[in-house]
Each structure stands twice: as C-alpha cells, then as structure tokens.
Symmetry: C2
C-alpha cells in the first residue's frame, strides 16, 4: 500500500520480477479491492499470488515512535511478521522508511554479533555502482558499529555485486590515517588488524568526492554522514541534469543538438536513474527486509525484489555471521560486552 | 608559492583583480625570482606591488601540527602576520589549507563571541549559489558552535551575496524538528528563540538534496558533514559531466549534437566551475584570510581576491560582532562560560 503510487506499482513490479525469476512466489498484503484492481494488469502474479486483505495501512506521515503499536496490525506490519514466522523469505515495501525499520527491528531482532542494523543501498559511480552504509538508520555510531557495517557491507557487495573480496573504505574528511573522529580511527585500526581474516580488502579512508569514482566497492559511515552524502549526490545529479535541460532549450541549434544526442543522453539518464539502483536493505536483522524508493516505478520495484531474492538465495545472513565470528575470534585487544560468541 | 601552479597563477589572478578593482594594492610573499618571472606578464601588479622575498615555503604535504613552528617564517606565515600587524587588510593563499588555518588561528585569534573559526565557501545551486559552513575546520561541533556558524554565515551571505536577511538552515537527515543529533536540535532551539533579533531568517532543517535547490542561502553544519557534502557534490558533478562527455563521444551524430550544443554546454560548465565559486574563508578570526582552491586558475584566484576585498570593505567582522552581541543579549537560558560580553 506504500510509496507514491500504492499497489499499482508494487503489483506491476512483482509482475516484471516474476517474468525475470519464475521461481518467485508472492504474498501481497493490503486492501483487497485496491490490490485486485492492480492484479487485473498482472496475469503472472494474479495466477499464483496469495492476497491477504488488510484494512490498516502505515501512512508516510506516521512517526516510528508513536505509530509502532498500531503499525503491527497494518499491511506493512503483517508483511514483516510473515518473514519472522517463515511464511515469507523476504519482505519488500515502498512504504514509510522509519516505520518499516522500526517494525523490522522489533520483529526480527539483530543477527548474532551485530549490535545495530544499517540501511544499505547502491550509489551510481563512473564505473558501475558502489555499496554505501549506513544511510540513516543510526544517527550516531561507535567504532564497533562501523566495523560491523564494514563486514555487512562487504557481504552485501559479494552477494549483490558478485565481488570476491570487495574493497572497503571509511568515509572521512581526508585520506590520511589521523583524519576525522576518534571512532573512525578506532574502526580503521580494528579493520586493519583483521587483515586477511575477512573476505574484504580494507583500503583506509575515502573522501566524499571518491564515492562517485567507483574505486571503492563499499563505503562505510554513520547514518548521519551517509544520509547527507546520498542526498547531496541525488541533489547534485538533479542540479546538473536540470542545468543540462536548460542548456538544450536555449536555441534552435541546441534543440537539434539534443535530438541528435538523445540516444546517448538516455544512457546517461539510465545510469543515474534511481530505479536502476533501487532497493535499500535493513542489513543485520534475522530476515530480509528491502525498502523500495517511494517514487520508484514498476521496473524499480522489480529491482528491489531482485535484491531481496539475491540476499535470500545466497544466504547473506550466513555470510555475515561467519564473517563476524571470524572477526571476533581474531580481533585485537579486549572484546566488547556485545559481540559474536 | 602555493597551489598547483605557484606564483604564475597567483600573480596572474592579482592582475585580473587589479583590473576589476583599481583600489587594490598587493604585497607578494615568496621567492623573488619565481615571483618576478610571473610579474613580467602582469604589468599592473608589477607597477605597484611590493615583493617580499621569502625563501621558506609551506608544502602541500606539511601537517599543521608539526609544521606550524617552521611555517611561521615561510611566505604563508609572513603573509598572515601582515594581516595581524595591519600591514595588509587581507591575506589570500592557494597553499596548504590545514597549515593556513593553523597559522591564521595562531596569529589572529578568534573574534569576541566566537569560540571557533569555520571554513566557509559558496556552493553552486540551480538558482545561483549558497553559503555553506563549516567545510572542515572543526570535525566535531556543539550547539553553540553551530549557532555561531549560523550568525557568521548569515553575515557572509549579506556581505558577499548582498542579501538583506538570508535564509539559514541546519543540515540534517530530515526536515522534521526531532531529527538528527541533540546538538542540532539544541542549536535549532537557540536560533528559533533568537527570532527577529538577528538579521537572518531561520528556516529549520535542510536535507542534503536541498543544498543544490538554492532555496536556503546559508547551510550550517559541523566540519565533518560539511566536508562530506561539499566533496560528494564535487564528485557527483564530475560523475555526471564525465558521463555526459562519454555520451557525446558515442557516435558521429552525438558528436555533431555536441558541436551544436556547445555554447549552451559551456554555460553549464561555467555554472559548475569551481573557479566561479572560489574563495574559502576562515570566518571568525580578527582578520581576513581567504583560501583559494589549489587547482584554481587565474580567474579563480582573482575571484578569491574579490571575496577578500568584499569582506574588508563591508567590514564583516563588525557585523559578526554586533550580531553575536545581539544574540547573546537575548538568548534564552543560562549563558555558556565563553560568549560575547
């Protein structure tokens, strides 16, 4: 029921995903009438999906704190519960991010060895795309959180991008070791010491301008800086493409120039299109919950479903648990109170 | 002697600035031989500038901590000292940012009412440009620092952008009041309470994607997030323009399309060109010190000189002192130990 377009986009996205991956089966939680209307245009999904009629919905204006009790009985709450009970392998929603996160944490709890889940997603780079986390789940983080994000982000890059040993770096205001905050330096020391025990290459610090260069596969930061970086990148991409549109409208010649360049410009737009990088994941929980961008189109929602399928089939949680246990067994210095057994 | 191109660009920039503002007079600190070579192509500056021959230079690899004692005797150190002694009204340098900041703090001390100076600069927006601070001088900041940055940033916008009552917002991960860290919420409360006592309009929170929209004139944040935002924006702009170049190279048609659109695309490039927004200022010190981008060209360096001239002529420090005194006189709750008298 969530997102800017409700069931229409969700069901159409499921239809595209079903065509791509015939092994998928859907349970659709929402108001039956609205969902059925959408299913009329989605024969594949209509033929096999189970529709669970739920009256209550989470609104975009709901706050995680107040709304959480009521939210458990909504379509979003029941979809998350289905992951908890094992009725579903994963939950994909285009709804309210904060409430989805709160519901997922409450129902699924964090993985062994992980103190806090992180919101992870892909950002476009000049080469292809890179993993960035945390994008806003944790406003403030300590060194342990950042290390756990690094391990989870690397597992995500191996799973979704198919990399063997992803390059991981900490987002910082300089590349030198002594830059930034104490928690970043502590996290760097822990990751450096872990060395070859982890299936990742720790590459030190990366600055904001390095994200788009695509040299680093996994960029690790707290939820505040990650959110600022993600949204500043979105805003800047919109600024440049907006200026570009104005430029092409300037004269008859530039309009002809635009027409001649259109196929190539379409490739540029596709490369930057958020739908092609869609699917934010709450990583570090006992279950797969994927957040589709509220403004995603059907193809974008299908991509978010594809991410969920990847994480389930390649069992990302087993990878994270193994890596965290490995890291904890070899970590230098005293172990913190909360850690992998 | 600093920046990627040394005296050649600095002197050429001074020549352009002198042409724009015939009231300017220059003192040039550096190795006489190298400076004289550059002066051969800059008749206006050569005719009036005083050349102070200094052997020692600050290197880009120097660290502020270690180098500071040695740095005081370099061309950069003596140029900053000239501001302290009143021999010069302002210092403009393209050299090592960290060392310039350290030298400026040491020689000039902070203004009454200001605990810490901030690095401020202009970022391009779809409308024109906005003021952003702190861009990296203070990795961590408290609510008092953020409020002082807001007052200083507003004074900067009035001085350099010529606005009457600039709109000021705090960079945050959501627009709602309860978002972000405690220090941001505290700063927001202080600014809201100051109300009409300050020559600014406090507009609450702004997210990263809002920076490029140009609706807010002054964006206030700590040096970590500010640096991440600035550099992520630079990197994203480079990503999009890089993809655009690739797009135009794709076929004969796109090449022709490029040729037809070139004048309009040049306007786009100019709008984003860092040289047109050049001149980072260490705001909050008893003296004007402006940092030119290391890769700036002569026009860019001339723009940085123009910023320095604006700040001196319009006496930004008097504005900041008045505003801080006003704010302190009307602030709610107990005053902190350090504050305006």
């Amino acid at each position: 029921m969530g997102g800017d377009f409700g069931p229409a986009i969700v069901v159409a996205g499921a239809e595209i995903a079903r065509e791509r991956y015939p092994d998928l089966r859907f349970r659709i939680y929402g108001r039956a009438e609205a969902v059925r209307e959408a299913l009329a245009h989605a024969p594949r999904v209509a033929a096999e999906a189970e529709l669970i009629d739920v009256e209550g919905v989470v609104l975009n204006t709901d706050k995680p704190g107040q709304a959480i009790r009521r939210a458990r009985g909504t379509s979003m709450g029941l979809a998350v519960d289905a992951v908890k009970s094992g009725t579903a392998s994963a939950c994909v929603s285009a709804g309210n991010t904060g409430v989805l996160m709160a519901l997922a944490k409450l129902a699924l709890r964090t993985l062994e060895g992980i103190d806090r889940p992180a919101l992870v997603a892909l950002m476009p780079t000049i080469k292809s795309e890179s993993v960035v986390l945390d994008l806003g789940a944790n406003t403030e983080c300590d060194a342990e959180n950042l290390v756990q994000f690094a391990v989870m982000g690397a597992a995500f890059a191996r799973t979704v991008l198919g990399l063997d040993r992803p390059k991981v770096a900490l987002l910082n205001i300089g590349e030198e070791e002594m830059k930034g905050t104490e928690k970043i330096r502590d996290a760097a020391n822990l990751l450096r010491a872990a060395g070859s025990d982890l299936p990742l290459i720790f590459a030190g610090n990366i600055e904001g301008n390095g994200i788009a260069e695509g040299v680093i596969d996994v960029i690790v930061t707290d939820g505040f800086s990650g959110n600022i970086a993600l949204k500043t990148a979105e805003g800047t991409a919109r600024l440049v493409t907006g200026l570009l549109q104005n430029a092409f409208r300037q004269s008859l010649w530039t309009r002809i120039g635009y027409l001649l360049s259109r196929p190539a410009l379409r490739a540029l737009r596709d490369h930057l299109d958020a739908n092609n990088h869609n699917g934010g994941v709450f990583l570090g929980l006992n279950g797969v919950v994927v957040k589709s961008h509220g403004s995603a189109n059907a193809r974008g929602f299908a991509n978010a479903i594809g991410v969920a399928r990847d994480l389930v089939i390649k069992d990302i949680h087993a990878r994270i648990k193994t890596d965290m246990a490995n890291f904890s067994a070899h970590r230098p210095g005293p172990r913190p109170a909360v850690g992998a057994a």
